[in-house]
């Protein structure tokens, strides 16, 4: 902790005497209550019985702790399968994106070559193409290649479309890396691949962490692609698709839906708690480029 931070903590301890501090704190608390309420309601609902939930009460404390909703969501509503599908799909997508974006970012940053301007222009122009525009041919191409209704097809579509921001993130990072490192390794006899894997790639720690969390969030929460990729193969549904199907089922199980929602968001909330810094830098990156 720097002196400046210490000083600001001491200063802020005194701060409670200031009415402005109280007012702004109260306003933030009020807003935070509105933001947290749906989550608290969801947690409370997941421990209630459906009967109690239907009773229209505002009471957030369940009459009795009922864990059966978790069992119904996990087993009867197949969230065990959906969860596993989300884990596999997300992990594979993250792996592909990190590999392909670091490779592309590296050569785009370090070398001048024929076709570079064209590649850069195309990447920039298509940066803002919405999924709605590309969805139909993506499905038809996948269908032609036998990839529709397969996990591989879904992963390729998730990892293949867009991700331009990650390429530019790596490119920007490698441009700032001193070339002397490369040259020194080359003098030591390291080849192209060796320089990349053992000298340059290990330096990308924070960039890779940012790419991992942003891709994780994008893939874990993606809805449109898993939805159209699992129409005819329900055993491949991911959590978001499973959630919609569950809510539109024949029997309405509100408590079960709450439990399923909690199960679905827990992994990403845990990831956020441990990697907050990278979420922030990933999102803030959008306004700095």
């Amino acid at each position: 902790m720097s002196m400046k931070e210490k000083a600001s903590i001491i200063q802020s301890k005194k701060g409670w005497k200031n009415p402005g501090v109280w007012i702004s704190f109260f306003l933030l608390l009020l807003a935070a209550a509105a933001w947290i309420y749906p989550f608290v309601w969801m947690i409370s609902g997941s421990f209630k019985s459906n009967l109690e939930l239907l009773n229209k009460g505002l009471n957030l404390i369940p009459e009795a702790l009922d864990f059966s909703a978790y069992h119904r969501a996990w087993v009867d509503a197949h969230f065990d399968t959906y969860f596993l599908n989300s884990v596999i799909t997300t992990a594979a997508t993250v792996l592909i994106v990190v590999i392909r974006c670091s490779l592309a970012g590296y050569v785009l940053a370090m070398y001048e070559f024929r076709g570079k301007t064209l590649i850069m222009t195309v990447l920039l122009v298509t940066f803002f193409v919405p999924t709605g525009t590309t969805l139909i041919p993506t499905v038809s191409l996948s269908s032609d290649l036998g990839l529709l209704n397969t996990r591989t097809g879904l992963i390729l579509a998730l990892a293949g479309g867009g991700q331009v921001a990650s390429i530019f993130l790596y490119k920007g990072f490698f441009e700032q890396t001193p070339r002397e490192l490369m040259e020194a390794a080359a003098i030591d006899g390291a080849g192209f691949l060796k320089i990349f894997t053992s000298v340059m790639l290990p330096l990308t720690g924070p960039i890779t962490a940012t790419t991992v969390v942003m891709t994780f969030m994008g893939a874990w929460n993606n809805f449109m692609l898993p939805l159209v990729f699992t129409f005819s193969n329900t055993s491949l549904r991911t959590l978001p698709v499973g959630m919609m199907v569950f809510s539109r089922g024949d029997t309405v199980d509100y408590a079960g839906q709450c439990a399923a929602a909690i199960l679905s968001i827990t992994p990403i909330v845990v990831l956020y708690v441990f990697c907050q810094k990278y979420f922030v830098s990933g999102i803030a990156g959008a306004i700095k480029s």
């Binding site: 933001w35 193409v129 191409l141 691949l193 956020y272």
Partner: protein, 306 residues
């Protein structure tokens, strides 16, 4: 410049370069470039489904039909209206909260930021399902709260199931979901303003409002323009939330362009791929025009800022 020249003189390892680019180029071609071209091509044919035989070129017929289709025009109107409701709300509310959170004397900063970020972490499908329950007039707590606040007219209403309130309600939920994202944009922008400037203003005897008006605002303008572009582009692509929350209903009151495309391509028992592709092409163009126009405005602001 000299560095570039020396690189050009040394032998460029083309083999490695293209090998490194290969995964990106192949996937990018398959999932971005080809689909853009194919969408335009499909839109000029009479293709009904992926298995259609005898697909013919029909010129602009789909586009002519589209612009006479009341439902398509409605989806454009819904998308535009939604944008007008949510963009200013998300933009200004997040700015206000960011100013509070960026204040040196603000307490529990990380705690608040985490709370506002929770909905950003949560997939729209879950947000949709949970809000359907929260807003259910027979069991949800929102109607009970409205009743206790004395808003009896609203309390008996299904806010998502009534055509006149559904879009506004979806807008409130959307702002709630994405505010934490804008908050991070604004805080990062505010933190790029050097501390010394605030101190200098204080020494000169400026109060908070004067500081905000003459120091923060001009430095924030270029960032504000970018945040506006990002917010608008998010608002236009509101598909996930609408599909899970209302599925475009009731009576198409919340059917945005992307939901319209999805309905014709994937939800109908007699799909109309070519027709949906024409809508997708127009949507892509509409989107690009707005983004490019805003980029132009942004660069004007940035020049003015310098």
């Amino acid at each position: 410049m000299s560095r570039q020249r020396s690189l050009r003189r040394s032998k460029t390892p083309y083999g490695w370069i293209y090998l490194f680019l290969a995964p990106t180029l192949i996937l990018f071609t398959m999932y971005t470039l080809y689909p853009i071209g194919a969408t335009v091509w499909y839109s000029l044919t009479n293709m009904r489904s992926f298995t259609s035989k005898n697909v013919r070129f029909v010129g602009l017929a789909n586009y002519l039909l589209l612009f006479q289709d009341k439902q398509f025009l409605n989806s454009l109107r819904v998308t535009g209206l939604f944008m007008l409701i949510v963009v200013p709300a998300r933009f200004l509310l997040s700015l206000a909260l960011a100013l509070l959170l960026n204040w040196k004397r603000c307490k529990w900063k990380t705690f608040f930021r985490t709370i506002f970020f929770l909905p950003v972490l949560t997939t729209s499908a879950i947000i949709g399902v949970v809000f359907i329950m929260l807003l259910d007039p027979t069991m949800g707590p929102v109607n009970v709260i409205l009743e206790q606040l004395g808003l009896t007219e609203w309390a008996s209403l299904s806010l998502l199931g009534t055509a006149s309130t559904a879009l506004g309600t979806a807008g409130v939920i959307w702002v709630w979901k994405w505010l934490g994202n804008s908050l991070i944009y604004w805080i990062a922008s505010l933190q790029s303003i050097p501390e010394e400037l605030y101190e200098a203003a204080k020494i000169d005897g400026a109060n908070s409002w004067q500081t905000f008006k003459s120091i923060v605002t001009p430095l924030l303008l270029p960032f504000a323009a970018i945040i506006l572009v990002l917010t608008v582009s998010d608002a236009i692509r509101v598909f996930n939330l609408m599909l899970t929350l209302t599925n475009g209903g009731p009576f198409y009151a919340t059917e945005t362009v992307e939901v319209f495309i999805y309905r014709h391509a994937f939800q109908s028992t007699s799909p109309r791929m070519a027709y949906a592709s024409a809508a997708a092409t127009i949507f892509g163009l509409f989107f690009m025009v707005i983004v490019i126009a805003q980029r132009a405005v942004t660069s004007i602001f940035q020049k003015a800022g310098k």
